[in-house]
C-alpha cells in the first residue's frame, strides 16, 4: 500500500509557470516542424528576399535605394506596361467572373439538363497551359483565322486576344469558387423570401447576391491575380501590347537584365499580395456566414429559367470546346491553312525548338516527382502544423510560410530562385540547373493551395485521435500512418493530382530556371511558338492537355472505384 510521504509545498506566490516535460513524440514533432520551417525558409522566403534585395542593388551589388525603380518609371514604354496590365486584368476579371457566375448559377440553382457534363467541360482549361487558348485564338481570329470576320477588322494581337485568352484560362478557377459560394446558401432564406412574396428579381438581389458576395469577391481577386501574373497568353497573342508579366521575361531572358527584372517582379508582387490579404479577410467572414443549421438549397424546375440557362451555359461550354478543338485540328493538319490533310508531322518535336520529345518526358518526370515529394512534404507538413501540441509561435510562423506562396506570382518566385540558387556563394548552388530545382520550385509554387486542402481535411477528422493515441501510449507516427493518412486519402490524392497537373502545365516559375537537359513541355510550347512553329506548339499543348486529362480521369476512377472499395468503412 502506498503510504503518504508527499511533502506538499506551501502556496507559492507568483512563481514561474510550470513547463511540461517533453515526451519523445513532442521532440520528434517539434523537430519536424522546425525542419519544415527551415525548408520553407530556404525554398520560399530566402528566394523572395533575394529578389527584393536585388531590386535595390546596382549591377555590382551595391545598395542604390530606389534608383532601379526610377530608371524603370523613367522609360515610358515600361511604365506603360503597368497601365496595360491593370486595365487588361480588370476587364478580364469582370468578364470572367460574370460568365462564371452565370454558369455557376446554372449548375447550382437550376434544373437545366446536362449539369454533370457542363461541370466536366468547364474544367478543361485547368488541364491546359495558358499558351493553348492563345494559340487557338490565333487560329480562330488571326489574319488567317477561321472566323476572323467576327472581330470586324480589329486585330486579335493585343488586348482583345489577351482578354479572351485569359477569360478562357481563368474561367474554371472563378467557377470553382463561385459554385462553392452558391452551393452553401441557405434554403430557409429563400423560403422566407417566398413567404414574404418577394419577386424573383428582388429575391435574387437581396438573397442570392448577398449570400454569394464573399465568393464573388474572392473570385475577383483570384482571377485578377492570375491574369496580371500570367504571361503565357500575352506572350503568344499580345503582339506589340506590353504588359508587366512579359516585361519581366523580356528584361530577364531577353536582355539578361536581372535587376530590372527584380524591379518588375516587385511591382508584380504588390497586386498579388494585396489580393492575398483581402482574400484571407473575406474567407474569415465567409465562415461566419455559414450557420450550422443552414439547409441546403434544392432548385425546383422552372421551364423558362432552365431553358435560358441551358442556352447560355451551352454557349460558354461550346466556346471552351471550340478553343480546345481548334488547337487539336491545327496540330493534326499537315500545313494549316493550305493543306488540312491529317498527319502527325507536327508531333515530330525533335526537329523543332524547345527540346523535342525529351521536354515532354522531362515534364512527366518533373510533374511525377513534384506530385510524389510535394504530396509527402505538404501533407506531413500540414499534419505537423495542425497536430503538434503547443509550440504555438513556431507553428504559426510555419503556417504563415506555407501560405506565403499564394501571394507570390510564379514569375517572381522563379526569378527569386535564380538570384538565390545561382549565387556561387550559396552552398546549395549545386542544384541549379538540375531537375531537383524544378521540382522544388514547383512544390513551393503550388504549396499553399495543397497545404490548405490538407489542413481542411485534417480539421475534419476528430481532434481527439492524437490524445487517445497518446493515452494509449501509441507513438504519433503510428496513428498518422494507420489512421490519419488512410482517413485523409481522398485529400491526399487530390493534392497529388493538383500538383501533377499544375507542374505539367506551368510555365511561369520554371521558365527562368530550366537548363538544356531539363527543358519542359510547357516551355517547349513557348519556344516553338517563338520560332514560328505554331502548329507544333499547338501539338505539344494537346499532348500536355491529354496527359493532364488522363491523369484526371485516373484520379476520378481511383476515387470512385478503388477508394470506394478500399474505404468500406465510410459506408454504414
Amino acid at each position: 500500500m502506498a503510504t503518504e510521504t508527499l511533502i506538499l509545498p506551501d502556496r507559492p506566490a507568483a512563481v514561474a509557470p510550470l513547463r511540461q516535460k517533453l515526451g519523445r513524440d513532442d521532440w520528434i514533432m517539434r523537430g519536424a516542424v522546425v525542419a519544415l520551417g527551415l525548408w520553407l525558409i530556404l525554398t520560399v522566403l530566402l528566394p523572395i528576399w533575394a529578389l527584393l534585395s536585388k531590386s535595390f542593388q546596382a549591377a555590382d551589388g551595391s545598395f542604390v535605394g530606389l534608383a532601379n525603380f526610377q530608371a524603370y518609371f523613367a522609360s515610358p514604354a515600361l511604365a506603360n506596361s503597368i497601365w496595360h496590365s491593370i486595365w487588361v486584368s480588370l476587364l478580364s476579371t469582370v468578364i470572367c467572373v460574370l460568365l462564371a457566375f452565370v454558369y455557376a448559377y446554372g449548375l447550382t440553382r437550376t434544373c437545366m439538363p446536362g449539369r454533370g457534363l457542363f461541370r466536366i467541360i468547364a474544367q478543361i482549361p485547368i488541364l491546359a497551359p495558358s499558351l493553348l487558348p492563345a494559340i487557338s485564338l490565333v487560329y480562330l481570329f488571326g489574319n488567317q483565322g477561321l472566323v476572323k470576320w467576327m472581330l470586324f477588322g480589329a486585330s486579335i494581337y493585343g488586348p482583345i486576344g489577351i482578354v479572351m485568352g485569359e477569360v478562357f484560362w481563368t474561367f474554371p478557377h472563378a467557377l470553382i469558387i463561385i459554385t462553392t459560394a452558391l452551393a452553401i446558401s441557405d434554403a430557409r432564406l429563400y423560403e422566407a423570401a417566398e413567404a414574404l412574396r418577394a419577386s424573383p428579381r428582388r429575391t435574387f438581389w437581396t438573397v442570392t447576391i448577398p449570400g454569394a458576395r464573399y465568393g464573388l469577391i474572392s473570385a475577383v481577386f483570384v482571377v485578377f491575380t492570375l491574369v496580371i501574373t500570367d504571361f503565357g497568353v500575352p506572350k503568344v497573342i499580345g503582339g506589340k501590347f506590353n504588359v508587366l508579366a512579359t516585361d519581366i521575361y523580356k528584361q530577364v531572358v531577353g536582355q539578361q537584365n536581372f535587376r530590372m527584372g527584380a524591379v518588375v517582379g516587385l511591382i508584380l508582387l504588390l497586386p498579388a499580395a494585396l489580393a492575398f490579404v483581402v482574400d484571407q479577410l473575406m474567407q474569415r467572414r465567409q465562415l461566419a456566414l455559414l450557420s450550422a443549421r443552414a439547409v441546403p438549397y434544392a432548385p425546383r424546375p422552372d421551364a423558362t429559367i432552365d431553358r435560358a440557362m441551358l442556352a447560355i451555359c451551352s454557349l460558354i461550354a461550346f466556346a471552351i470546346l471550340v478553343i480546345l478543338g481548334v488547337s487539336f485540328f491545327a496540330s493534326i493538319a499537315t500545313f494549316w491553312p493550305y493543306n488540312l490533310t491529317p498527319s502527325f508531322k507536327n508531333f515530330d518535336f525533335d526537329m523543332m525548338d524547345g527540346g523535342g520529345w525529351r521536354s515532354y518526358f522531362n515534364s512527366l518526370v518533373m510533374a511525377g516527382l513534384t506530385a510524389l515529394f510535394g504530396t509527402a512534404v505538404i501533407f506531413a507538413g500540414a499534419y505537423l502544423v495542425e497536430k503538434t501540441p503547443r509550440f504555438r509561435t513556431i507553428r504559426g510562423f510555419v503556417q504563415f510560410l506555407a501560405l506565403l506562396p499564394l501571394a507570390v506570382p510564379g514569375l517572381v518566385l522563379g526569378l527569386g530562385y535564380i538570384f538565390f540558387f545561382n549565387n556561387p556563394a550559396n552552398p546549395l548552388n549545386f542544384i541549379y540547373g538540375t531537375m531537383a530545382i524544378l521540382v522544388i520550385c514547383s512544390i513551393s509554387h503550388f504549396y499553399s493551395v495543397s497545404h490548405l486542402t490538407a489542413v481542411t481535411a485534417l480539421k475534419q477528422i476528430d481532434r481527439e485521435f492524437e490524445t487517445v493515441s497518446a493515452s494509449l501510449r501509441v507513438p504519433f507516427w503510428r496513428t498518422f500512418m494507420r489512421v490519419t493518412l488512410p482517413v485523409c486519402l481522398p485529400a491526399v490524392l487530390d493534392i497529388a493530382m493538383y500538383l501533377f497537373v499544375n507542374a505539367m502545365t506551368t510555365v511561369s516559375a520554371v521558365v527562368f530556371i530550366y537548363a538544356p537537359h531539363t527543358t519542359l513541355a510547357a516551355i517547349a510550347i513557348l519556344n516553338m511558338d517563338d520560332a514560328g512553329d505554331v502548329a507544333p506548339a499547338a501539338a505539344m499543348a494537346m499532348v500536355v492537355f491529354a496527359t493532364a486529362a488522363v491523369t484526371r480521369a485516373i484520379y476520378m476512377l481511383l476515387t470512385q472505384g478503388y477508394l470506394a472499395r478500399a474505404q468500406m468503412w465510410r459506408k454504414r
Binding site: 488567317q144 499580345g238 500545313f335 525548338d353 531537375m435 520560332a531 514560328g532
Partner: protein, 345 residues
C-alpha cells in the same frame, strides 16, 4: 519488408536522386555545353556527326536566338556556363573577343578555311562555318488574293501597298534581324538607313522574336511577306508552303556563323575537338546542306529553291564596324520602333 524489396526501393531512390541531380551512373563522358543560335532542325545532324567521330564527348546545346545567346554569354561573364560557342553570328563572337572571353586556338585544317571567313590572327579566336543571308518569303496565295505585286528589292517594301503585310525579326533578339539593319545602315549610310527603316516601319505588322518566324508566318499566310533568311526560306518552301523566295536586288545582308572556345572552359580538350571537327570537310558538307556558302571553298551546296548567285549578291560587310556599333544600333532601333515588337524583345 524483405530484403529484396528494400534493395529495389534503394535502387529506385538512387535513380531518382541521379535523375534529380543530373548525376550519371554510367562511366563519365565529357559533357560539352555548347551555346548556339543554330536552328533547332540543324543541330541534330551536327551533334550526331560530331559525337560519332568523337565518342565519349556529349554535346549539350543551349539554344536560343542570337540576341539572347549573346546577352546570356555577356551576363554570365563572371561565371560562364558555356564551353564552346558554335553557330553564333560572327558579330557576336567579335563582341566576346573584345571582352576577352574567347580562347585563341588554331584548329587542325585551319589553312583550308577561306581567309575571309576567320579571325585573321594565327591562332584565331573564332572561325567561320558558313554564311547566312537575308531573303524574303512571299506568300503567293495571299499575295494573289490581295492583288499584291511581288517585291523585288528592299526599296519595294516601303511602298504603301504593303502596309501591314510585312513581318520582320527584331534585331535585338534575332541575328537575322540585326544583319538586315546592319546591311541597310552600310548600304544607305547611317542617316539614309534610319530613314529607310522609318519608311519600312510603317508597313511592318509585327517584329518577331526569331529570324525564322517571319518566314513561317508568311508560309501560314498570317502575314504576306516575311523578312527572313535563305535557309529558313528554302526549308519552309520544301515543307510545302505556298511561298516564293525573293533575294532583294540591292544586295543581301549577311553574317557568318562561327565557332569559338570559351577561355574559361574546363573541357578544353573536348572543346578543341569540336573546333577541329567544325572545319572538316565532313562538317562543311553538313553546313552546305543548309547554306550556299561555307567556310571550305569548293563544297557544293544544294538549296533547291534558291535561285540566283548568293555569293555575288552579298553586300560588302564591315563586321568590325557592326560589332563595334552593335549596342548603339540596337539602342537606336529600340528607341524608334520597340512598340511593335513581340513581348520577348
Amino acid at each position: 519488408m524483405n530484403l529484396c524489396t528494400t534493395s529495389g526501393l534503394r535502387r529506385a531512390l538512387l535513380s531518382i536522386a541521379a535523375a534529380m541531380f543530373g548525376l550519371s551512373t554510367a562511366a563519365r563522358a565529357a559533357d560539352l555545353t555548347v551555346y548556339t543560335a543554330l536552328e533547332a532542325d540543324q543541330i541534330k545532324p551536327y551533334k550526331a556527326a560530331f559525337e560519332k567521330a568523337n565518342p565519349g564527348i556529349n554535346i549539350l546545346w543551349v539554344r536560343d536566338s542570337t540576341g539572347i545567346i549573346t546577352a546570356k554569354l555577356l551576363a554570365e561573364k563572371a561565371n560562364p556556363k558555356a564551353d564552346v560557342v558554335m553557330g553564333l553570328a560572327a558579330t557576336s563572337l567579335m563582341l566576346l573577343q573584345k571582352e576577352g572571353m574567347l580562347m585563341p586556338y588554331a584548329p587542325a585544317g585551319l589553312d583550308k578555311v577561306d581567309a575571309k571567313m576567320r579571325d585573321p590572327a594565327a591562332s584565331p579566336q573564332w572561325v567561320g562555318m558558313d554564311v547566312w543571308a537575308s531573303a524574303f518569303c512571299v506568300n503567293t496565295v495571299e499575295a494573289g488574293k490581295k492583288n499584291l505585286p511581288e517585291p523585288a528589292s528592299w526599296a519595294d517594301l516601303t511602298k504603301p501597298v504593303y502596309q501591314g503585310q510585312i513581318a520582320m525579326p527584331n534585331p535585338a533578339s534575332s541575328g537575322t534581324g540585326f544583319l538586315m539593319v546592319s546591311a541597310w545602315l552600310q548600304m544607305f549610310g547611317w542617316d539614309g538607313g534610319w530613314k529607310y527603316m522609318d519608311e519600312l516601319h510603317k508597313n511592318i505588322a509585327a517584329y518577331t522574336h526569331s529570324g525564322s518566324k517571319p518566314c513561317r508566318q508568311a508560309a501560314a499566310g498570317e502575314y504576306t511577306i516575311g523578312l527572313s533568311f535563305e535557309y529558313r526560306a528554302n526549308k519552309t518552301k520544301k515543307g510545302g508552303a505556298p511561298i516564293s523566295i525573293v533575294l532583294p536586288k540591292e544586295g543581301l545582308g549577311w553574317d557568318m556563323e562561327a565557332i569559338g572556345i570559351m577561355k574559361t572552359t574546363k573541357e578544353s580538350e573536348a572543346a578543341k575537338k569540336l573546333s577541329d571537327w567544325a572545319v572538316t570537310a565532313e562538317a562543311n558538307k553538313l553546313y552546305a546542306e543548309n547554306f550556299a556558302i561555307v567556310a571550305l571553298p569548293g563544297i557544293a551546296s544544294s538549296m533547291e529553291f534558291i535561285q540566283g548567285d548568293i555569293d555575288k549578291m552579298l553586300i560588302k560587310n564591315d563586321f568590325a564596324w557592326a560589332a563595334e556599333n552593335r549596342d548603339k544600333i540596337l539602342a537606336e532601333w529600340s528607341k524608334r520602333y520597340d512598340g511593335k515588337s513581340e513581348p520577348k524583345n
